[in-house]
Amino acid sequence: MANNVSHTTEYRTLGKVLLFLMFCTFLTITVTGIHLGPLSVTVALIIACAKAYTVMTYFMHLKYESLLLKLLVGFVFVLFVLIILITFIDYAFR
């Protein structure tokens, strides 16, 4: 039965990904510790996005998934950005 088509990620790759994520966490704490004012939120969110992207790509195997699934994830991301934009536009011009 050729039912399993999932990609196998090697232990070593997973370990490297963890190291990268730990480094990002350390970076977030350090960067938000020094006072950058409003910039610190932006930096924290950019690092968080990088971490989320890494988790989805490697831990959740998205890199090796079908085009359909990748497109679906992209679609949800665009949908969320649109919701944020519409909410903020509504809020700003109220």
């Binding site: 997973l14 977030t28 938000t32 959740m60 679906l72 919701i83 903020f88």
Partner: protein, 205 residues
């Protein structure tokens, strides 16, 4: 009829069940996404109060929990790798470590919340309505968002316990590991949400 045609094909579609899991994950992302939007708007409106309130949280506890979740995310991914390699023993160890890390997270959360509750700071307490609006909103959102996240941790633990049991009795094996794969996906989702919760709640002072 020959022997070969006698056996019944098991009816299952791992690819579709994975797609189903992802669709569920999308609804979860939008659920928390909505809460993040609420948080951003109130933070914008009550900037000073949110800053002051976030100073009340311990960055150390938050950081330990972040590390515990990231580590557990790796071990559950390793459990899947082990299962694909037909290494049952490693898979069992990895799932157990994941569950242990989840427990570490919850114990930490217990002390963190316990500390707040000791000071009379919890939803519905006598102190909460006396706070000004900004502080009230911050702590309400803090308890609701981290509480909903902790609830997801508990659900994830139950799911991984089922996986642990099924790997042990052999109903999850090298040819059939969709449940473990989907359980792992759910666990990564829990990690994903925390990746945003941690900087927004603990670090933006």
């Amino acid at each position: 009829m020959s022997e070969k045609h006698n056996h019944v094909e098991e009816h299952r579609d791992d690819e579709a069940s994975k797609l189903g899991m992802w669709l569920f994950i999308f609804t979860e992302l939008l659920l928390f996404g909505g809460l993040f939007i609420v948080y951003s708007i109130f933070r914008h409106e009550y900037y000073q109060a949110f800053r002051e309130s976030s100073l009340e949280l311990s960055v150390t506890i938050g950081a330990i929990n972040t590390i515990a979740l990231l580590f557990s995310s790796m071990t559950v991914a390793m459990a899947l790798t082990a299962m694909q390699k037909n290494d049952k023993k490693t898979a069992l160890i990895m799932i157990s470590i994941t569950l242990l890390m989840a427990l570490v997270f919850l114990v930490n959360k217990y002390f963190e919340w316990g500390h707040k509750i000791e000071h009379g700071l919890y939803p519905g307490s006598a102190l909460m309505p006396l706070l000004d609006r900004g502080h009230l909103l911050y702590f309400s959102l803090y308890f609701f968002m981290t509480g909903l996240h902790a609830f997801h941790i508990i659900v994830g633990m139950v799911l991984l316990f089922v996986c642990l049991f099924k790997v042990k009795n052999g109903s999850i094996h090298k040819e059939k590991y969709a449940l473990l794969e989907n359980g792992a996906l759910y666990w990564h989702l829990v990690d994903l949400i925390w990746i945003f919760l941690f900087p927004l709640m603990y670090l933006i002072s």
